[in-house]
């Protein structure tokens, strides 16, 4: 699979991650300048190509005819989370240092997870979304290799 610039599929489909945001310019700065995404479309919605996928940003609202019972809003309670962007990295210390130096807020430094599978830390984006940054341990890498 080779990904085009914009997430327009000519066959099959591409999976992207949508965020409801308050300020598209602020979010754009975070995902482009700090995480290194490529701006594809600036606003309403904003598309940012980031590695093997795309971030799609837009302001809240609704309901709309295609989801008549659903309202989109920025996270109302930052302490309760259901889904999030999860970045699986090769070198968590390097990512932590680089993204922090560029202004990303991290909740903690990278810590070993008790399950033995990974080291993890979490960023907060400008709307307070958590973004997991995780590096698999050798135990996990060996498991994946033996099951692939």
């Amino acid at each position: 699979m080779n990904l085009p610039n914009a997430p327009t599929a000519h066959e099959g489909f591409f999976a992207c991650h949508f965020f409801t945001v308050r300020d598209q310019e602020k979010s754009r700065d975070f995902y482009v300048r700090i995480l290194g995404g490529k701006l594809v479309k600036p606003e309403n919605p904003c598309y940012i190509k980031l590695e093997n996928s795309w971030i799609i940003l837009n302001c809240g609202g609704g309901p709309t005819p295609d989801k008549p019972e659903v309202v989109l809003e920025t996270p109302p309670d930052l302490s309760r989370v259901s889904s999030f962007l999860n970045l699986r990295v090769a070198d968590i210390q390097a990512c932590y240092k680089e993204w922090r130096a560029k202004g990303a807020f991290f909740i903690t430094e990278p810590l070993p997870n008790p399950d033995g599978w990974e080291w993890r830390c979490y960023m907060r984006d400008p709307d307070g979304y958590i973004i997991e940054v995780g590096q698999y341990t050798q135990l996990a890498i060996d498991w994946f290799n033996s099951h692939s």
Partner: protein, 147 residues
């Protein structure tokens, strides 16, 4: 299993840089893995374990990582993970951009996906939404204004 983007290959686990994945908190890892495998043709890499490891499913260009709720944990001491408390209040979601929305709607519906409505035209695209087993919305959209 890898995804090729230009000259770079994205793998799980990643060998360099980083790989972009989507995490959802689920009530039942097996039920969710089966749903994403069956509806979207995903490939299940792992179903997690009793010690807390997550399930991994490759879907098109990305990976879905699923696990049960819990927390707080030392790396996020103020955050609790749970399935959606109110499925009608949504902040972020999986957004699937398709080549042929009518074909996807028919195929995925025939595989058991529950759609909120049929595809509708809106703002230069045609869209509809699936509810996954935990009530997450998944946008299915075909853009008509991007090349």
């Amino acid at each position: 299993m890898s995804v090729q983007v230009e000259q770079k290959s994205y793998e799980m686990p990643p060998r360099d840089g980083f790989t972009f994945t989507h995490f959802i908190t689920v009530a039942d890892i097996d039920r969710s893995a089966d749903f994403y495998e069956k509806v979207f043709g995903g490939r299940i890499l792992s179903r997690g374990d009793s010690k807390g490891a997550s399930g991994h499913i490759q879907i098109a260009n990305t990976w879905l990582i699923v696990n049960v709720g819990g927390g707080p944990t030392p790396d996020k001491p103020s955050v609790t993970l749970s399935v959606p408390a109110d499925p009608d209040q949504v902040s972020s979601f999986l957004n699937i951009r398709v080549a042929d929305i009518q074909a996807c709607y028919k195929l995925w519906k025939s595989r058991g996906a529950e759609f909120i409505t049929e595809p509708k035209e809106k703002y230069g695209e045609i869209r509809c939404y699936i509810r996954d087993p935990d009530g997450y919305i998944i946008e299915v959209g075909q853009s008509t204004d991007l090349t």
